[in-house]
C-alpha cells in the first residue's frame, strides 16, 4: 500500500498494534489498533477516515509518541515516531484543543512557538501572516477564553503551522466549524499542499476529505480496511457498471407505477408522489422515481417506456458511486465481521 509516487515517505507505519489495558486487579485488554500498515508520501494530503472508536486518534498518538505501540513500528519523516527530531518537524492540531485560559491569541502563539524551539524574533516574523491566513487578524489580542470554537480551531491551526513543519497532523480540523470556517480551513490546506507540505488529516466528515485529500485510508475497529485515491477506492469497492437513477416526472404515482411495471427486468423501482407543482393548465402531480442500482440498458428501457406513454421527464440524474458509499460498505462489512466476535475480549 505504498503511495503512488516514489516520493520519500513522510509516514511509514508497519504492522502497528496498540492494546490498552484497563484495571489493576482484573485487567481488561482493549485492542485499539490491530496490525495497521500504511505509508504516506511527502507532499501528500492524506485523509484517515473511520467511525468513532475506529483507532484513528490512537494511530495519531502513536505517530506523535504520546502512546507507546504494543507491537510494530512507525517512522515519521524517516525518524522513529515520537522521537524529538520527528516532533520538531510535526505541526499538530489536536481534537478538542483547549488553550490555557490566561492566554490571548497572540500569547498562545508565542507560547507554543517557544515550545517548538522558535525564537521570539522568528515568531514575530510569522505571526502577522498566520493570523491573516487563519482570519484572526485584529482579534489576536483578545483572550482565548472569549474565542468561539471556530476561532480556537483556527488559532490551533496557526500554532501548528507556526514553525513551518514538514508534516501537519490534524485531528478533526473542521469539527464544530460552520461552513464558512470549513471553507477557510480547506483553503489553508490547499495552500499548504501547493507548498509541498504533507498533511495527515483525520476526519469523519467525508465530503471534506473527498474535496481535499489525495489519498484516504478507511479504518474500522482498529484495522485498516482500505487505502488509496478516492477514485481507486470507489472503483475497487463499488460496481461501476450499476449506479442509481433518479427521475422526476409529471403524473400521479399510481399511473407511473403501472407504466414502470411494463419495463422488463426492472429492479426495485420506488416511485412516490411529491407535492404537486403548478403548471399553466392547473396543478399537476409530480412524481420522483428512485432506483438504487441499474445498468445502462435498464435505464434506457425505463426512459423509453415513460416517453412511450407521453410522460414528461422533468429531471434525470444518473449518480456516480461516492466515497460515502465506499465508507459505508467498509464500515458495515467490518461491523458485520465483528458481530460474530466479541470485540472486547477480557482476560
Amino acid at each position: 500500500m505504498r503511495p503512488p509516487l516514489a516520493a520519500p515517505l513522510a509516514i511509514d507505519v508497519q504492522n502497528l498494534s496498540k492494546t490498552y489495558r484497563e484495571g489493576l486487579l482484573f485487567p481488561r485488554v482493549h485492542p485499539a489498533l490491530k496490525g495497521v500498515s500504511l505509508q504516506v508520501g511527502q507532499g501528500e494530503v492524506f485523509g484517515l477516515l473511520g467511525p468513532n472508536g475506529a483507532g484513528k486518534t490512537t494511530l495519531i498518538k502513536v505517530l506523535l509518541g504520546i502512546l507507546h505501540p504494543s507491537r510494530g513500528s512507525a517512522q515519521v519523516l524517516q525518524l522513529p515516531a515520537g522521537s524529538k527530531g520527528a516532533r520538531r518537524k510535526i505541526g499538530y492540531l489536536p481534537e478538542n484543543l483547549i488553550f490555557p485560559r490566561h492566554h490571548t491569541g497572540r500569547s498562545a502563539l508565542y507560547f507554543y512557538g517557544r515550545l517548538s524551539e522558535m525564537t521570539d524574533a522568528e515568531i514575530r516574523k510569522r505571526e502577522a501572516e498566520l493570523f491573516e491566513l487563519v482570519s484572526l487578524s485584529g482579534r489576536q489580542h483578545e483572550a482565548v477564553r472569549r474565542y468561539s470554537k471556530g476561532m480556537r480551531q483556527r488559532l490551533g491551526l496557526a500554532q501548528a503551522m507556526l514553525h513551518d513543519p514538514d508534516l501537519l497532523i490534524l485531528d478533526e480540523p473542521t469539527d464544530g466549524l460552520d461552513p464558512m470556517g470549513r471553507s477557510q480551513i480547506r483553503d489553508v490546506l490547499d495552500r499548504l499542499k501547493k507548498r509541498g507540505k504533507t498533511v495527515f488529516l483525520n476526519s469523519h466528515i467525508l465530503q471534506e476529505v473527498e474535496l481535499i485529500c489525495d489519498r484516504v485510508a478507511i479504518m474500522a475497529l482498529g484495522q485498516l480496511r482500505a487505502i488509496g485515491t478516492i477514485d481507486e477506492l470507489v472503483r475497487q469497492h463499488t460496481d461501476d457498471s450499476r449506479s442509481s437513477l433518479k427521475i422526476e416526472v409529471i403524473g400521479n404515482t399510481q399511473s407511473i407505477e403501472r407504466i414502470l411495471a411494463e419495463v422488463p427486468n426492472l429492479p426495485t423501482a420506488v416511485p412516490h408522489s411529491v407535492s404537486p407543482i403548478v403548471t399553466e393548465g392547473g396543478p399537476e402531480a409530480l412524481t420522483r422515481i428512485g432506483i438504487a442500482s441499474i445498468d445502462q440498458p435498464g435505464a434506457d428501457a425505463v426512459v423509453d417506456c415513460l416517453r412511450s406513454h407521453q410522460i414528461s421527464i422533468l429531471r434525470l440524474e444518473r449518480a456516480r458511486p461516492s466515497l460515502e458509499q465506499v465508507f459505508m460498505n467498509m464500515v458495515n462489512t467490518a461491523n458485520g465481521d465483528a458481530a460474530s466476535r466479541d470485540p472486547y475480549p477480557s482476560r
Binding site: R87, I98, H102, R114, L115, I169
Partner: protein
C-alpha cells in the same frame, strides 16, 4: 527562550493573571495592614504592676494598721491618699476578714501615684538624702511623669520588702499608638531575643508553615491534574520536549505561585518587624527560600498523586495524609526516643572483677542480671537524678555513689547530693560473684545493702577513690571522706514515721583538704596521677598540680592554658601526662613535670570530650559527645604519644567507657550494651547484651526504620529557627558542667539535605510514571 523556561515563564504569567493569586495577595495585605499598627513602644512608667507586689498581705496589713493610726507615718500618708472606697474595703477586711484582691490593691496604689501632695518630709525623712528624689521634691511644677516617679519612690520606701522598686523602664504593646495593656516590665532590648528566638519562629512555623502551607497545597493541587486535560496535554507532548522536563517545569511552575505569595507576605513581615518593632532581621527574608522548600516537599507528593490519579481532591487528601503520617511518625519517634533512648542510656560503668555496676541517665544504679539478661536496678528506682560515681572501695567492699535530689525547676537553691553507700562484701572477694551471693542469699542489688551516709559537700562533681575512703571534688574544695572516721562519728538520730533513722553529721565525716579559699572556680575537672601521687585540677584556663602533704593538699605547680576560660573541660591523667579536653576545642597534651604543653592532639580535632578513662598501662580513652572513642597511647618506639580511633563495634554510638584494673576497656554502646575489650582492643568473651523489651523491639525494627526513610518536613522548622536567631543576642548560657546532659547540636542544614533527597526521589518517581504512562 528555551522551551522549559517558556513553561516556567508561562506559569508565572498564569499565576499573575489568576484571580486566586490576587485574592490571596489581598488577604495578605489585609493581614499586614491589620498588623501594622501593632507595635511596641518603650517609655517610662512608674505605675505599680501586679508582679511588683511581692507581698500583698503585708501591704494590706500595713495599710489596715495605718487606718487605725498604727504603722509608720509614711504608711499613714499613703492610707490617707488612697480613695475612700478602698479605705472602706480595708476596714471591712479588718472587721469581717473579707479578702481584697491584689488587683484592687494595685488600682488603689496607682490612684496614689497621681496625688501631688503625697510627699511629707516628716513621713519620709530619708527621701531628701537621695539625690534623685531631692531634685524631684524640690522641683516646682512637676510633670505628671515626674510626679509619678516621686510618688512611686515614696511608695517603695513606705513598704520596703513588699513592693519591688521599679526601674521605670517599660514597654507597651500599642495598637495605632494606643496603649491597651499594662506596661511590660522589660525594655525593647530585653524583649528582642524573645521575639527573635521564640515568637518569630512560632509565628513563622504555625502561621506560614502550617496554615499558609495548607492553603498553598489546596490551591496548587489542580495544576498537575489540569495539565492532563487531553486537549492541552497532547499538544504539549507533540512539541519537542522531554516528558520529564515538562513535568519538572510544571512542578516548578506551581512553586512559582507559592513563591509569589510567600515572598509578598514575608517581605511584608520583614518591613513590619523593622519599621514597627525596630528588628531588622535578615533571617526573616531567609525564610522565603526555606518556606518555598518546605512547600516543595509537600508539592512533590501532590504532583506525583496528580500524575497518577489526575484528581485535585485526591491530591489534597493524600498530601494531607502524608503530612499526618510525617507528623505522627515524628511524634511517635521523639516520644519513644525520650523513653527508650535517653533515660536508660548507661552513663557510667564501674567494673569490679568481671561484674559491671552501671549508672544510667535516669540516675539508677544497675547490676547485670545474667539469668534474665537485663540490667537490674538496685538501691531505689529514683527517676530524673544525676549520679556521681559510682566508685568501688575494695578495702571496705563498699560501693559509693552520689545522687542528686530532684528539685523541680531548680527551685530551692543549690542542689544537695546524697551519698549512697552499699556494702557488697561478696564482690571484693571473688572475681565473679555472679548475681546471687551464696553466703547471704541476697541479690547484689538488694536494697538492704544500702547503709546510711551523709550528704556530699555541696556542688560535688566527682569522686576519686582515696585511701580507705574517697575524695569528693566540689567547687569549693577537695574533701576527704574517711570511712573509718565516719563509722566512729556520732550519728544523729531522728524519728521518721515512728522509726529511728541515723544520719551521720556531714561536718565530721568530710575533711576539707584544700584551703578555704582555694581560688578555683567552675568549671573544674579533676584527675589523679599515680606516678606523681598528685591531684591534677583544671579550673577555667589554669592547670594545677596539688600534692598531698599530711592531711592537706597543697598547690605544687600551676600552668596557664590557652583555652577559653568558660570552657567545660574533661581531663585524663596518665602518669606524668595530662590530656586536657576543653569542650569544642582540640585536646591538649601537657607534661605535668615540666608543666609544658607537649602538643595539641590535632588528629582528634575540635571535639566535645565527655568522658575519659586511663588504663594502668598508660593508655587513655577519650569519648566524645558524638559517641566517638579515641585511644591515646604512648608510642615507645618514638617516645611520643599517638591518638587513634580504634575500629570497634559501636564506634560513633558509645555512651560511656571504663578501664578496669586489668587494663580491659569496657565500652557501652547502643544504649545499654557493653563490650569488654582486651588491652589489644580485641573483643573478649565478656559482653553484656540485654534482651530487647517489646517497646525497644518496636522502636528498633518499626519506628526507627520508618522514621529514617520518612521525610521530615517539620525539621525545616529547626533551620528556620537557626536563620532567625541573632548571634548578637547572647542568652546567658546555662552553666553546663556536666557534659552528660544531652546536648542537642543538630546541623541546622541537615533537614534541607534529607528533605531535598525526598523531593528528588518523588520527582524521579513522577518522571518515571510520566515516561511509562500512555496518555
Amino acid at each position: 527562550m528555551k522551551p522549559y523556561i517558556a513553561i516556567l515563564y508561562d506559569s508565572l504569567i498564569e499565576s499573575i493573571q489568576s484571580r486566586v493569586l490576587w485574592i490571596l495577595l489581598a488577604a495578605w495585605t489585609l493581614i499586614l495592614v491589620a498588623l501594622f499598627p501593632l507595635s511596641l513602644s518603650e517609655g517610662e512608667s512608674y505605675r505599680v504592676r501586679m508582679g511588683e507586689i511581692t507581698n500583698a498581705k503585708t501591704v494590706l496589713d500595713q495599710l489596715a494598721a495605718a487606718s487605725s493610726g498604727k504603722g509608720t507615718r509614711s504608711q499613714k500618708m499613703v492610707y490617707a491618699a488612697i480613695d475612700q472606697e478602698f479605705q472602706n474595703a480595708l476596714r471591712d477586711r479588718q472587721k469581717s476578714g473579707r479578702r481584697i484582691a491584689v488587683g484592687r490593691l494595685v488600682t488603689a496604689l496607682n490612684t496614689v501615684m497621681d496625688k501631688p501632695d503625697l510627699y511629707d518630709s516628716d513621713a519620709w525623712p530619708t527621701a531628701e538624702r537621695r539625690t534623685e528624689l531631692k531634685e524631684l521634691i524640690q522641683k516646682e511644677n512637676k510633670s505628671s511623669g515626674e510626679l509619678q516617679k516621686l510618688n512611686r519612690r515614696l511608695l517603695d520606701l513606705a513598704f520596703p520588702g513588699s513592693l519591688r522598686s521599679s526601674s521605670g523602664q517599660a514597654t507597651w504593646i500599642t495598637y495605632a499608638g494606643m496603649k491597651f495593656t499594662d506596661p511590660l516590665p522589660f525594655t525593647l532590648r530585653q524583649i528582642r531575643p524573645f521575639i527573635e528566638a521564640t515568637l518569630f519562629p512560632f509565628i513563622m512555623w504555625v502561621g506560614l508553615g502550617q496554615i499558609a502551607m495548607m492553603i498553598a497545597i489546596v490551591i496548587t493541587s489542580s495544576m498537575i491534574p489540569d495539565m492532563f486535560q487531553t486537549g492541552s496535554l497532547h499538544l504539549l507532548l507533540s512539541k519537542p520536549l522531554s516528558r520529564s522536563l515538562l513535568y519538572l517545569s510544571k512542578y516548578l511552575g506551581g512553586c512559582i505561585f507559592v513563591a509569589l505569595n510567600i515572598s509578598f507576605l514575608i517581605v511584608g513581615l520583614y518591613f513590619y518587624s523593622g519599621l514597627q518593632l525596630g528588628i531588622w532581621n535578615q533571617g526573616i527574608l531567609w525564610c522565603i527560600p526555606l518556606f518555598i522548600f518546605a512547600f516543595m516537599v509537600f508539592y512533590s507528593v501532590s504532583a506525583l498523586v496528580g500524575l497518577i490519579w489526575k484528581n485535585p481532591i485526591i491530591c489534597v487528601v493524600v498530601t494531607a495524609l502524608f503530612w499526618g503520617v510525617c507528623f505522627t511518625i515524628g511524634t511517635v519517634r521523639s516520644l519513644s526516643e525520650t523513653f527508650l533512648r535517653g533515660p536508660p542510656t548507661l552513663q557510667r560503668i564501674l567494673a569490679v572483677g568481671d561484674t559491671p555496676i552501671v549508672a544510667n541517665q535516669q540516675g539508677r544504679i544497675q547490676f547485670w542480671n545474667d539469668k534474665d539478661r537485663v540490667w537490674q536496678t538496685g538501691f531505689g528506682e529514683v527517676d530524673g537524678q544525676r549520679v556521681i560515681g559510682p566508685i568501688w572501695q575494695s578495702e571496705e567492699s563498699s560501693l559509693y555513689f552520689g545522687r542528686t535530689r530532684f528539685i523541680p525547676f531548680g527551685l530551692g537553691g543549690g542542689e544537695t547530693i546524697r551519698l549512697e553507700l552499699a556494702r557488697i562484701p561478696e564482690l571484693g572477694k571473688t572475681p565473679d560473684a555472679g548475681s546471687d551471693s551464696e553466703a547471704t542469699g541476697k541479690k547484689l542489688w538488694d536494697d538492704s545493702r544500702l547503709d546510711s551516709a551523709p550528704d556530699l559537700p555541696a556542688d560535688t562533681f566527682d569522686l576519686i577513690p582515696w585511701k580507705n575512703g574517697f575524695l569528693a571534688a566540689s567547687t569549693d574544695g577537695i574533701y576527704w571522706f574517711d570511712a573509718e572516721r565516719a563509722a566512729k562519728a556520732d550519728q544523729q538520730k531522728i524519728s521518721v514515721l515512728g522509726f529511728d533513722v541515723k544520719i551521720p553529721q556531714a561536718s565530721e565525716t568530710y575533711k576539707r583538704l584544700t584551703e578555704a579559699d582555694w581560688g578555683l572556680r567552675k568549671p573544674i575537672a579533676v584527675g589523679f596521677s599515680n606516678s606523681l601521687d598528685a591531684l591534677i585540677l583544671v579550673s577555667r584556663d589554669k592547670l594545677v598540680v596539688m600534692k598531698r602533704n599530711d592531711e592537706k593538699l597543697e598547690k605544687l605547680r600551676e600552668m596557664q592554658l590557652d583555652i577559653p576560660a568558660e570552657a567545660v573541660v574533661n581531663l585524663a591523667v596518665s602518669d606524668s601526662l595530662a590530656i586536657v579536653c576543653p569542650n569544642a576545642e582540640v585536646p591538649l597534651l601537657v607534661n605535668l613535670e615540666t608543666m609544658e604543653l607537649v602538643r595539641e592532639l590535632s588528629e582528634i580535632g575540635k571535639a566535645n570530650i565527655k568522658r575519659t578513662g586511663v588504663a594502668g598501662d598508660g593508655r587513655a580513652a577519650l569519648l566524645s559527645t558524638d559517641g566517638d572513642l579515641w585511644i591515646v597511647s604512648p608510642d615507645s618506639s618514638e617516645a611520643r604519644v599517638i591518638a587513634s580511633k580504634p575500629s570497634i563495634s559501636g564506634q560513633g554510638d558509645i555512651s560511656t567507657i571504663h578501664f578496669d584494673p586489668s587494663n580491659r576497656l569496657w565500652v557501652c554502646h547502643n544504649v545499654k550494651q557493653i563490650d569488654v575489650l582486651s588491652s589489644e582492643m580485641k573483643p573478649t568473651e565478656l559482653s553484656f547484651y540485654p534482651k530487647k523489651t517489646t517497646p525497644e523491639w518496636i522502636y528498633d525494627y518499626i519506628i526507627n526504620p520508618f522514621y529514617l526513610v520518612n521525610p521530615k518536613p517539620a525539621a525545616i522548622n529547626e533551620t528556620i529557627q537557626y536563620v532567625l536567631r541573632n548571634p548578637e543576642n547572647k542568652v546567658n548560657a546555662i552553666d553546663r558542667t556536666d557534659l552528660d546532659i544531652p546536648q542537642i547540636q543538630r546541623d541546622p542544614w541537615q533537614p534541607i539535605w534529607s528533605n531535598g533527597i525526598f523531593i528528588l526521589v518523588m520527582l524521579a518517581l513522577g518522571c518515571w510514571q510520566l515516561y511509562r504512562q500512555d496518555l
